[in-house]
Amino acid sequence: MFLGYIFRKLSFLGNQYALYRRTTGPYDRRSMEGAAKKLDKSLEKNLACLKGMFSDSCDLKIHPLELGPDRWPAAILFIEGMADNNKITEGVLRPMNEWRPEGTLAAGQRLIEELAKKVLCAGSIKPLSSPEEIVLECLSGNTVVLAEGCTSGLIVGTKGWEKRSVSEPQAETVIRGPREGFTENICNNTALIRRKIKSGKLHAESLTVGRRTQTDVRLMYLDDVASRQVVDEVKKRLSRLDVDAVLESGYIEEYIEDAPFSPFSTVGYSEKPDVIAAQILEGRVAILVDGTPFVLTAPMLFIESFQTTEDYYSRPLYASLVRMLRFAGYLITVFAPALYIALTSFHQEFIPTNLLFSIANAREGTPFPVLLETMGMVFAFEILREAGIRLPRPVGQAISIVGALIMGDAAVSAGLVGAPVVITVAITAVASFLVPAQNDAGSVLRIIMMILAAFTGWYGISMGFLAALIHLGSLSSFGVPYFDGLAWTRDQEDTIVRLPLWFMIRRPKAIPETNQIRGRFFIPSFRPHEALDEDEEDADERRGEGT
């Protein structure tokens, strides 16, 4: 009976999958059905048609005009809020109103040409005749100029809407390093990256994703560094993507990542231009999505989560120390509660006698088994964290104070939980903030490890650890082995220790690229400047020419 159930369950899943496969045909633009293929000569008809295509939205502004002394009917269309009012007034409305053509008005297509050449003032002006395209342009903030008797309209670049200015990113803060963060505006973001890498080889490519949202997506990579396979793979996956909406880069991430069921994310992201620039310089591809300050990078390596830009801005010794601390912190945050469970309920022999007595004293009289106690505390912590994030900052702090101090203390003194558990969970929680990029994977692993520890103690933890290792080893991100950065035998410059920058002559081998050399090996002069002899100056000159 049980077998039958499993069988039915499995075949259900199979059917679901088959259903999914069947429905994914080529994408058809059903929303545009019934629209005319080309504009009509009559302005009235055109306006009606376009109005229909906008489903009579109230924010579509149609402004009728009369051109010249002939009072030739014309109209401009734009979407309120998407287009810059100033630009429309100065660039479109005023010139058109004040236009006094010599002689009679040219009719039809020539009128449009004349308007474009002589009248309108704007950065970009182009004629379009397909209503669909006109609608799209209008939707992205441009103004459409239509005139009676013309089968094409003019698109005037008047994009401009209220946007957040470049400010310090909220998710990633630094003590030393640039403070600017990406904004929601994709053009701005592209420019921010380009400002860091002023190279003609920095290639930017535009795509549109999302059936309804028509989100602008841009790929940026260094043409002579990034490996073709990775770039092609990214493009292939993006072009395969066929969805209704892309509201944030997270949507794209989920659709293009390699292992959707894995707790580890195989696409990296950042909010800071310097991080993305560094990633691009190592041969990765950046994926910018309009409407979000988070830029994706691919391929992603496991080690990336442990590297922060600040490592490279501070001195190597300290950076290495912090790097090790981060690895330790990650191990602690994943394994500490599990270890506590294993040690106190399976392997009391590993605890020094005095410590065992104090733990036993604390455990004495607490009502729950260790697993429940620890699980409860871990959950309480997750609740507190979530509550703290979603609330406005001042309230969030209040919550953490209430949660951590008052609740923890009260629980211990009421004898509900033992103090060692509180300490363990507190360490776990604090350590989890050391590696924010792996926070979600860490939480999942932590719970798995705790369950394993509660069933077979240290053996279970070991097996869980090995399974996690093997899982990590089997993952790959856009054809690049995910765990490669941590291989014991290569890319040693920048893993557990960070060597001085002048040691990192080559780009990391783990990421495939076509151009290995980053710069020349260079030892900072330990001598005073006067001692520089001519040879070295020559070398300096040559270096200048070489790059």
């Binding site: 499993i6 499995l10 199979g14 022999e349 004293n361 004495e364 009289g365």
Partner: protein
Amino acid sequence: MRGIWLKSAGLLMVLLLFSLLLAGCWDYHELETLFIVTGVGLDKAAEPEKMEIILQIGKTRSPATGSSDSSNQKDSIILMKAIKDTTVEGIMQLDQNSSRTLLLHHNQMMILGRDIAEAGVKGRIDGFLRNQEMRMEILVMVADRRAEEILSAKLEEEQISSMYLYGMMQDLYNISPYYKIRMLDFVSRLRDGTSSAVAPIVKLDELEDKKELKLEGMAIFKEDKMVGSLNDQELQGYIWTMGDVRQSGVAAQSDKGRAVFHIAKLETKREVGLKPEGNVRVKLSVYATLDVAELRGFGEMTPLELMPYLVDLSEKQISQQIMAAFKAAQELDADIYGFGLDFHRLHPKVWKTIKKQWDQLFRELELDVEVNVKLPATGQIAKSLEMEDAKP
């Protein structure tokens, strides 16, 4: 298609594994279901062939509920007792009759009652070696009378007497590693065949208002039976013979006064050899570095005379104490120094021929002691108050 199949089947498999695991967590013991055994004692029972197994259990108290009144020391330990043929039987009986499971991993020591030590221990400690929970690092001690009274002693300093003893032995270990007899050392001697095992004797002193545990000499085992003991002076001699002394003191008395030296370092070298006439001769060279710790008397000597005199005095004292210990051991026919083992290690070929008669050879063994003392330091003061030069 296959991917989804495999994934879901794998997931089910893992769930199944969990359910299997849920069915039994075999080694799972919550801390509050455990009795942490801190000491094991063996005593002879009234019936022959049986023995009393005494377990000392450190009691845990909840900090949240009860106010910790340290005056009520009775609560800090639990003593359990069983009378059985073997240790394991006893422990099993105690385990079954108690509300909690016994955790033997934190056992600090095995205390042998004097009577059981004298009757022989080989058959008694097999369980200790075999049980995975018994560690080789637990200490072996012999109780002056019965093990029970040592384990039940309530001390001022430490509420659990075996923890106290462990600390004491750890302290002595810093003086010389030969004070601390672990199960491993004990068993190693027992297995060796010719060497005699030793174990420190612990004695309970009942004063008017409190009890005190003291180290009193060293028990000497012949085969596996305790045959005698070394007193404090002899014990010191024994320790010095074994060498590797890191701190300790030598007190010497002569007609001119009394001198106490502090041992900074004491090392020995042993040469075991067979003399042509057939008996074994051991040449023991002791190299000691001493400091002058305290002087009394020596009033009529100048510092220049004094130093060589003190060297001589300390050399005599050390050699005398070493010989005293050796005599005591020789009388008992017990090779506590492992001379036989040395012989075995250095002359394995000859050893095979004389192994059988080692007892005889040990009885006739000649020990040549040669003590070399260096006395580089006189402490903070160069002259003592009683000396001639110091007087104004």
